[in-house]
Symmetry: D2
Subunit: 405 residues, 4 copies
């Protein structure tokens, strides 16, 4: 059970499903303790999943965005925290998989190729895990406002600042840190990603992560103090992060959609199993015969399939035309729908199945807690709708200026 260049998409999804099934029985304990799911990540490592997005010619499984979305969904059915944290790794790797990066001319092109090769090798051969550190306390995901900054020094850069929501911050081998450059690009704040190693002496992690949901992502706070990073650990081009996030919204906004679809799927599976042969209290009548219950389940299915269909259609657009306006609008639509779905379906399921489902001995209450987290990740429900509306009204939503970042 290991994926690689020869793995078909169908097989990759089978393996994802199998991994999700392994995660499921472990999820409650990790959630309760807010502990990093080491076993799950060991499974992911062993199954070659750290290279899921690495191109096949670099030894990875070369998953398309659509296949990746579906894989994430299957992992999240078992444990959403694991899937969400794992997505942070892929947020670092995914943008590098673009084949156009392999053929850029000149010295820059050569540097980028070297950088990609190094990241891919770390993922595939080294089975190294990457984390991402973008948000900041009091700033959230508004990247154009971050205060963490870096200055060039001999042989590299020195970073100072504080990052929040750093999933797996203490557990990943590397962390991609967004930091403000000293120079801007036109009137857009110059911002770069820099790769910091786990045992960099300038890094300190605060165990602040004690939250409503997604507890096992261990998204703690990272303090960077005079943290040295060598030049070759600059992520792609300098100062261009805001351009990248505005263009490649599928990675920065849409890659987590699979996670929340997975939660919603798990909710519906729970409800369906719960109702399978349950009787109305004290009678021999099947609950599933109740017209109101059938109707509610129909609503859940419809909402789930709508969000799923829209998400897959958006993901397919990513594979066909990454970075196009149509694609980016589709990503925001999907993010909005998934954000609404996951919350509503888990609340409805509790209402439908009743009091026994609020106990921690059942997974439904965890789904309910994890689900709401979608809306606080970029882009928020409102940011998504505003993006779609502005695009429809002819505004330039793909410029970093005036974006919600």
């Amino acid at each position: 059970m290991e994926i690689g260049p020869d793995t078909s998409p169908e097989r990759l999804l089978e393996v994802s499903q199998e991994l999700g099934r392994r995660f499921a029985p472990r999820a409650a304990a990790y959630d309760r303790d807010g502990k990093f799911p080491e076993e799950n990540f060991q499974d992911l490592r062993d199954a070659g999943f750290l290279g899921i997005l690495v191109p096949k010619d670099q030894g990875g499984a070369g998953a398309s965005f659509l296949v990746y979305t579906k894989a994430l969904e299957r992992l999240a059915i078992g444990d959403a925290s694991t899937a969400l944290a794992f997505n942070m790794h892929n947020l670092a790797v995914g943008p590098l998989a673009d084949p156009r990066l392999a053929t850029l001319p000149g010295r820059r092109g050569s540097a980028i190729r070297d950088f990609r090769t190094w990241v891919f090798k770390e993922c595939v051969a080294g089975r190294k895990l990457f984390a991402s550190a973008a948000s900041e306390p009091g700033i959230g995901y508004r990247l154009s406002k971050i205060r963490t900054h870096y200055t060039p020094v001999e042989g590299g850069f020195v970073i100072n600042g504080v990052k929040s929501f750093v999933s797996m911050g203490r557990h990943a081998d590397y962390c991609i840190v967004a930091a403000r450059s000293e120079r801007d690009v036109g009137d857009v704040p110059g911002t770069s990603f820099l790769i910091v190693e786990r045992d960099n002496p300038g890094v300190r992690i605060d165990d602040a992560w004690d939250t409503l949901g997604m507890r096992a992502t261990c998204s703690n706070t990272m303090h960077l103090k005079d943290c040295f990073v060598p030049s070759q650990r600059l992520y792609l081009l300098e100062a261009m992060v805001l351009y990248n996030v505005a263009r490649e919204t599928h990675w920065y906004v849409g890659s987590c959609n699979g996670v929340y679809l997975g939660i919603a799927t798990a909710v519906l599976e729970f409800v369906t199993n719960y109702l399978a042969d349950r009787k109305k209290a004290g009678t021999e009548d099947r609950l599933a015969e109740d017209p109101l219950i059938q109707h509610r389940v129909g609503k859940m299915c419809t909402d789930l399939e709508a969000a799923r269909t829209v998400t897959y259609a958006a993901a397919q657009l990513v594979d066909e035309a990454p970075g196009s306006l149509e694609t980016n609008v589709a990503i925001h639509r999907a993010k909005y729908m998934v954000g609404v779905l996951a919350c509503e379906i888990s609340a409805d399921a509790i209402r439908l199945c009743g009091g026994s489902t609020i106990f921690k001995s059942k997974p439904l209450e965890r789904y309910y807690r994890d689900a709401i987290c979608c809306s606080v990740m970029p882009a928020s429900n409102d940011d998504c709708l505003t993006y779609v509306g502005k695009a429809q009204l002819g505004f330039d939503v793909m410029s970093p200026r005036g974006s919600y970042w």
Copy 2:
């Protein structure tokens, strides 16, 4: 501008769009007077649209269900009544286009082939229009309960009964009438479709159609009194209608989805144009800059694209696996979403654009009136959700018994 066996799907949609554009300026007058849109149907005739579903080898355009759905949408952007009435024609033709009907063995197979050939020829060469008469007063679309019945006589059948909602009843060349047989199929009421000619002396049309919306469909009431129909005008197999509608829900439930998607699309186009360069009252500020308006437009786009994506995905399933459970569930999901969408988007548009849009000089108020009609056509929003829910809970939804028909 005529479609036929050589027309590509792309071209077919272009022609549909062009026809819709012709219909648009005529729509208000037909709506006001509740008059049948003769000009539009002449255009449809001239453009070969009466054969849109007739197989290419029979001289038709051979549109797939997906292409047909998109074509209907484009017509409905211009005039929903015309598109909805036109769909009644295709409800008669579409089920015959199934290629499996061309190769049935035996005498029955031969009779079916003759029947198909006749219908197709009437459509293509004869440019004849078919209507459908299924509902009945006090019964609605519950086909298993209809009271119109027929008895076999020398050389054919004699029908007696009353049908309601007979779109184009006075205007179509033929009308497919659902009537109860004297014999049942197991415990399922035997029901057949019989084709009645317009000038059959047993037919009388009451001009009862004076309604909120879809006024130009002229869906009047048809009285059949000792109405003789020759044997060869029996539609496919006798007594099997309830089996057909339960299996081929794409025709009987899902074929009108394109119409209501078209209305929703027209609404969004109206809103977008309305906001294009309008200023806030008495200022130079563009309305489109208003964050609340952007947000609302984003919601409209998202809802529309969700319903559209789900509808197209269901239509594609129809083309790949007609009559399968998965397909039928997808059709009901789509019908529900489109039914909700059309109402909500038109109400929201009135709220957004304000008082000037309730005037009959603008089309928005017509969209609002036409949109609600979706929910009263089979299957109702509630019937759709119940269908989906029952399927999810493992009930047999494809058997005629216990269905909503």
Copy 3:
């Protein structure tokens, strides 16, 4: 059946109900033709309703705002257009009923007393009808932006401009016209109300009112060209209209709530009667036994009673503390809820009762068309929520500046 100073609130509501019952059978014809409901207004005149808000010591019925709201509701159950048009009369009279206006000192106080006395006498003894002309084409209800203006001349003023949505414009004896003054009040546009007589030669009415709903209000467009108004027909203080509407939102925003509550009540009555003894198609099972139908009816009742309770609570606040912040916020909450309610309940009723209810032979389709009009009257649903939100967040919503007017 005539109300006056001695009429108890209970009796007043009985009479209102009786009038509504008389209006009901006439409503369809007035709606169809967009004709002014002369018979209904004759009934209102005969029943002394033109003085419903006139203080008892001036010969009127002296209804409180709560009683008035309930009376309007009962009228609207029968015919919403009549009730809405009638409310325009009361919009003119109501603000004058404030007892504090009777005791203002000085020359101004004396002029105001004379003005009130004249209006009250016209209403009670003269049975004269007042209309209101505030909105303008392209401006809507943003009073601070209106273009109609007046200039002082010998013995009075001369008005020029165009007003839209002038309910009963051709039928009322007087019309209160909002017009811009030459002088402002601080940085607030000076705006006054002036009373124009029906046969003023400077007035021309365009029969533009052909709309989705509220058709019998005949809210046509009024052109005023060098229209002379004598000094004593200035409504209260000069230039203060924006202050008045911002403070007395119960008249300008909340007085129509009763109308839309009435529509919603009529919808629920229709549904309840419709279901009373109807059977499921072709069976002996009562529709009312259907759990989904019971559930939907329960939702309708709940939404209606919620809006009603909130509206009455707001109206009671008006009677206790008119013009207070708490009262004005309550009025906006109620307006929002009623606006949402009327649309949703009428759409749900059509869905619930099915295809037969879209015919003009039943009143439900008219309720559906009338209901949406609530949202385009001041304040829109969005204006209401923004008002409430700003108040909660500590903004000054009662100043004319920055208001939605």
Copy 4:
């Protein structure tokens, strides 16, 4: 700060508010550990709150249902678990406060008077706490189906069975246990309440309560094995419980409304304070100036005030006409609205305030978890709407048969 017969309603609410303020800082710890809030209950004891519903002539504070609802709301703003558990005490006491019970004739009347006097004395003089045990595993709140039963023995009864959701089961001095009688009342299952003392040797508590929300209620599972209860501890009349719950729905369905209103109020207070002087990330612009935020806050306020107004109106009806159909319908409407409100407002608040609010260092995530519990308490949202709908359609909802109990 102690309430009693001389305490005015205003003062009682002030004290409630003060208690709520004391509870607030303690809530997080009790919630985290799922520990019973001993300090809070000591405060309630000391403040005389165990007698809040005891009639003034029996030494209690004699709160009306409306005042009680408001008091509970104020306690719940501080800690919902405490308020909800406290309500269980009052569920036992409240039905006894009905003055009609004081004047019943005969031996039964005398026994009832003795029983009331004993309960009231325990509450007021003894400061004893009562719990309620009605639900059962696999049965939920369907009282007509419970399996716990009792048999008469010398001097009393012996109970056997298992009860779930026994709030404060381990902490209350007495527990009112619903158990099935050997004889029925007509075709209604005979069910009685019996008062069991905490240290009854037949009682065993399982510490099963580890839940999503309302964690500090410690609603553990209670096993009763041959549990003897003396005759005089029978609660009112034997076998009549189903009649009582069907008639006095204000106690069994509506008494917790104040708790969830309190949560919603706390949510809105949190949001308002959060936005008070917060700036948009990296700017000097106040978040509160954002039109989308104002709009959302306006929606929250409107929803909260609607539910509050409806709840208070229902409570007032209880005080005026307890047990009437109108009152019971109003109670179910209120329960539904509060159930929807609490969930939606807390989810919206998280979305509005963003990622920092999912941390356990802030109370919002607890509100979100506590809020959903409303829907799983009797009556569920669906049970409420069905009740209201059936009443509207003329069904007898106040008979125990066919009720949701």
